[in-house]
Subunit: 220 residues, 2 copies
């Protein structure tokens, strides 16, 4: 085994250990935690803005959001939610458990039912890093094309739900829904595929119900 | 310095050494080499398909294309170009000089004027890895939103040209062109910003002229 491989394995082992601590902490407080993973521009922040707005009166929400730089996403979401933490990763292409542990210090956990972790925009690197979440959600948009699940099998295989956003653009872009669906089912036959448009509002109810259900099971 | 940082630096040092060899080899044959970097679904493969089609009678072309898995992109492009090599990176989120060196063995370099390297769909990790290219081209699409340059400063700063694809979708998506442009100019005040739509064909001529100009300079 090369030294490089050994170090990568070591990084993952340390991450897994911190993720275990995180999971204990979050589960101890019965906080339902969602790790949202998708490419840049698939609509992660827009979806969370809308989700925070629609669920604010119903449950207590918190968000942490990873980006290389800027606080733009946290600024956008903070108008809908008092507990939003921006994590700037510098050159790192994904969040690690260590980032989440540090960001948790800025959140009043006694006031959280549902925690969103919006990962750095990237369909590849975030998948391998456990953040202590209950579920990973993989997000695509129709503007990206129908071949993205086949080309990114790890996020599809590990996701508890998959989102297809921007269905309002279907009339304007080439997208074969049957190819998208078939590729997903080959890799993951249990996760629901939630088709929606943050812009038009279509399909958002099913997404909110899926979150309510996750929180209910966590509390059961 | 931690052992992890040391190993990352070592990987980059080895990569830089291989990239130097690559650059010597490609420059010795005066092949103009373009490293195309953009998020999943920004339209890299579609742009190259169209580019191959439009330049095929004029110059000798070759492509290598990186994806975690599948040969779909190479299949799409091979109808327009006899020299297309698919590189499957497994779980690796970017191409390295080592991948390119291996793929070069499958290309008849005596029959190439212009070599495209379509990197793995990712706005972050590919930026740090020199592939012996003449130029890096950073690619965005209007569907991704106007905030992507500010959130991905490294590709913007290092690019010799920046592409904004899918301008045909401007009537259907929220996108502030002035925010996009200002953020780019803050990071890079020399690279042209080429606005185009692979679907409608708008703006492709300027892109082809930019490539012709690059090849001409390489040959001068």
């Amino acid at each position: 085994m090369t030294r490089e491989v050994m170090v990568v394995e070591n990084v993952l082992r340390v991450n897994d250990e911190l993720a275990r601590l995180l999971r204990e902490k979050l589960t101890g407080r019965r906080i339902f935690t969602v790790n949202l993973i998708g490419a840049p521009g698939c609509g992660k922040t827009a979806l969370l803005e809308k989700t925070l707005e629609m669920l604010a009166g119903e449950m207590k929400l918190a968000v942490m959001v990873g980006d290389l730089t800027t606080a733009r996403d946290a600024q956008r979401m903070s108008q809908w939610c008092p507990q939003v933490v921006q994590i700037n990763t510098g050159k790192s292409c994904h969040l690690e458990a260590n980032h989440v542990l540090q960001a948790l210090e800025k959140i009043d956990l006694g006031n959280v039912d549902l925690l969103f972790i919006e990962n750095v925009g990237n369909l590849i690197c975030p998948v391998g890093f456990d953040l202590g979440q209950d579920v990973k959600v993989g997000m695509f948009s129709v503007a990206e094309g129908d071949d993205k699940p086949a080309k990114h099998p790890y996020i599809v295989a590990e996701a508890s739900a998959l989102i297809l956003n921007k269905v309002d653009l279907l009339p304007y872009v080439p997208f074969r829904k049957e190819v998208f669906d078939q590729d997903i089912r080959r890799l993951n036959n249990h996760a629901p595929v939630l088709e929606l448009s943050v812009t038009s509002g279509a399909g958002l109810d099913a997404w909110l119900d899926w979150l309510r259900d996750g929180l209910r099971k966590k509390r059961a």
